[in-house]
């Protein structure tokens, strides 16, 4: 027979289970080492996803908080709206997870892993497209269809033409403005040069 008073809280059970599994996982991966295959060519080499070196930290916090909430609810100490309480808890947990992610994603190790994996992927893509491009272009040509690079060149030319039009329009505007300034200037000079009739008479 199970005594209800001693029945374990499900969050405690999950927490315990998760702690054991993350502990086993981190031991397998090596606390200070990488969690991924350690091949010399792997971009994950030397990457520790938890710079604080405690892979359980985030989950511990997460489950402890839910466990506390569960205990409170069972004791009838919950607020008027359990969903609101849960929402609050969840928001706090997400904030905590966001901080952990930020710490992980902002580490040099992650940056290095990201750069290496991107470089490998780009190099592979470049090789592949170098090999495949002539064949793809031939196939498209056979169907009388333009290739991507041909379309890009066309778009570039259209954009270039629009820019030239804008430059022409700009130059035209400047010329018109200059002409109008000259016209205004000459009109005002003419006015200045033409003395009033009374003055003329007097001179």
């Amino acid at each position: 027979m199970t005594n209800q008073n001693t029945s374990p809280n499900p969050f405690d059970m999950w927490k315990d289970m998760l702690q054991k599994s993350t502990s086993a996982w981190s031991q397998a991966a090596g606390q200070t080492g990488s969690f991924a295959p350690t091949s010399a060519f792997s971009p994950f080499q030397g990457f520790n996803p938890f710079p604080s070196n405690d892979p359980q930290q985030m989950w511990q916090q997460f489950f402890s908080s839910w466990s506390d909430q569960w205990t409170k609810n069972q004791a009838g100490a919950h607020g008027p709206d359990v969903s609101q309480e849960a929402q609050k808890q969840w928001t706090e947990q997400l904030e905590s997870m966001a901080r952990t992610f930020a710490e992980t994603l902002g580490s040099d190790a992650f940056s290095s892993m990201l750069g290496k994996s991107l470089e490998q992927s780009l190099t592979m893509q470049q090789r592949f497209s170098k090999e495949m491009k002539p064949q793809l272009d031939d196939a498209l040509q056979a169907f009388n269809l333009p290739s991507r690079s041909q379309m890009d060149r066309l778009f570039e030319r259209v954009i270039g033409l629009e820019e030239r039009l804008d430059d022409l329009e700009e130059n035209t505007r400047k010329i018109i403005k200059t002409l109008s300034d000259i016209k205004e200037g000459s009109t005002s000079r003419q006015k200045q040069r033409t003395p009033p009739a009374s003055k003329k008479d007097g001179s």
């Binding site: 009838g76 919950h78 709206d81 359990v82 969903s83 609101q84 929402q87 969840w90 928001t91 997400l94 904030e95 997870m97 966001a98 992610f101 930020a102 994603l105 902002g106 580490s107 040099d108 992650f110 940056s111 290095s112 990201l114 750069g115 290496k116 991107l118 470089e119 780009l122 190099t123 893509q125 470049q126 890009d152 778009f155 570039e156 954009i159 629009e162 820019e163 804008d166 700009e170």
Partner: protein, 358 residues
């Protein structure tokens, strides 16, 4: 026994509340999934070059302010309609209702064919032309210039290279200037790790899909947080309308031109050349000390894209004597487009300009 009855009764109430929320989700997203109308403030296109367009929003209501207000937003990444998101929740609508003659530079939908668009084209051709066009359209001799995010970086470069520019006041909102304080992007774009040249050679820029991945990776819990808030507020129609509009915008990424990205990653995030006075465009060094206009620098206290320190450093390097820094509550976008912006940023800008634009 009593406790158990209370618990059951409360559980029933909870279940009913959650049923009601589930019903609201079905009503708002299944029965009526239509997106709310966005970017509806009346405007006209007054200039166009390539994909870039200049939009004019004429002043309404109050007496028109004497100087046109030009907004230069970020280049690439996402669309600028977040500045005119919804009626009643729009920065541009607020400005026009305060009597500002607003101009918005829309860089257009950037794609691979724009790979040669860089700082030079933006700073030496596009920005001067939109300023000139705005002055001509409004029959003014000066403007107020507002750069947002990377638009603030671009406008700062423009002002530094054109000390006699017809700009009366300069407002830099969440604009990165000190890239050493550039948050996660600073770490990811580290020149020791990030293969910028290979990336640009392969894609011709940053495609929209990769841009989305990069920004979502910045904050992996963001969508869970948004969903969580939605569940709590799903019975408020205004919240749902705003959520739909914001979700649409937040998933509507566009690419970044290759040349611009290369300069940003290698020279700014990589070597922090702008703040160090070593950033050279078309043979001219960008010296931020040459900025002398009255300056308002705005940062957000929860900005993880452009942390407040990255924006604040502009204050230290300009020669403006009239300058003010404000750090407002909110994130990178919500500081100028969130619900709280009605009470914080928008009136702040309007008030700051009112004494400096006469």
């Amino acid at each position: 026994m009593v406790e158990s009855t209370d618990f059951t009764s409360q559980s029933q109430q909870e279940a009913q509340k959650n049923m009601s929320r589930a019903q609201a989700v079905i009503d708002s997203f299944v029965v009526n999934p239509s997106a709310p109308p966005i970017a509806v403030t009346p405007h006209e296109v007054v200039w166009k070059r390539g994909k870039a367009r200049l939009l004019r929003y004429r002043p309404q209501g109050q007496a028109a302010r004497p100087l046109p207000y030009l907004i230069v937003p970020w280049l690439g990444i996402s669309r600028p309609y977040v500045l005119d998101l919804l009626p009643g929740n729009s920065f541009i609508e607020y400005l026009v209702n305060q009597g500002h003659d607003v101009y918005l530079l829309d860089w257009g939908e950037i794609a691979e064919e724009d790979k040669n668009l860089g700082f030079e084209e933006a700073v030496f051709k596009i920005i001067p032309r939109v300023i000139e066009r705005a002055m001509e359209e409004s029959d003014a001799t000066e403007i107020n210039l507002n750069g947002i995010c990377l638009g603030g970086t671009l406008t700062a470069c423009y002002l530094a290279l054109n000390p006699d520019a017809p700009v009366r006041n300069f407002i830099a909102v969440v604009a990165p200037i000190d890239f050493d304080e550039g948050g996660l992007f600073r770490a990811w774009l580290d020149e020791r790790n990030f293969p910028t040249d290979l990336f640009v050679e392969r894609y011709g820029g940053v495609p929209a899909s990769l841009m989305a991945s990069g920004f979502k990776m910045l904050r992996p819990t963001m969508e869970a947080q948004a969903m969580s808030s939605l569940w709590a507020n799903v019975e408020k129609p205004d919240y749902v309308t705003n959520f739909k509009a914001m979700s649409r915008w937040a998933n509507d990424y566009i690419g970044m031109p290759g040349r611009f990205f290369s300069q940003l990653a290698k020279e700014l995030y990589g070597k922090n050349r702008l703040i160090n006075g070593e950033f050279v465009l078309n043979g001219a060094t960008v010296d931020l000390k040459k900025i002398s206009q009255p300056l308002l620098v705005v940062a957000a206290n929860q900005d993880f894209i452009v942390p407040a320190l990255a924006a604040k450093r502009l204050m230290d390097v300009v020669s403006s004597t009239d300058k003010e820094f404000v750090e407002l509550p909110g994130g990178h976008i919500s500081v100028f487009s969130g619900r709280q912006a009605h009470q914080t940023l928008w009136p702040k800008i309007d008030e700051w300009l009112s004494t400096r634009s006469e």
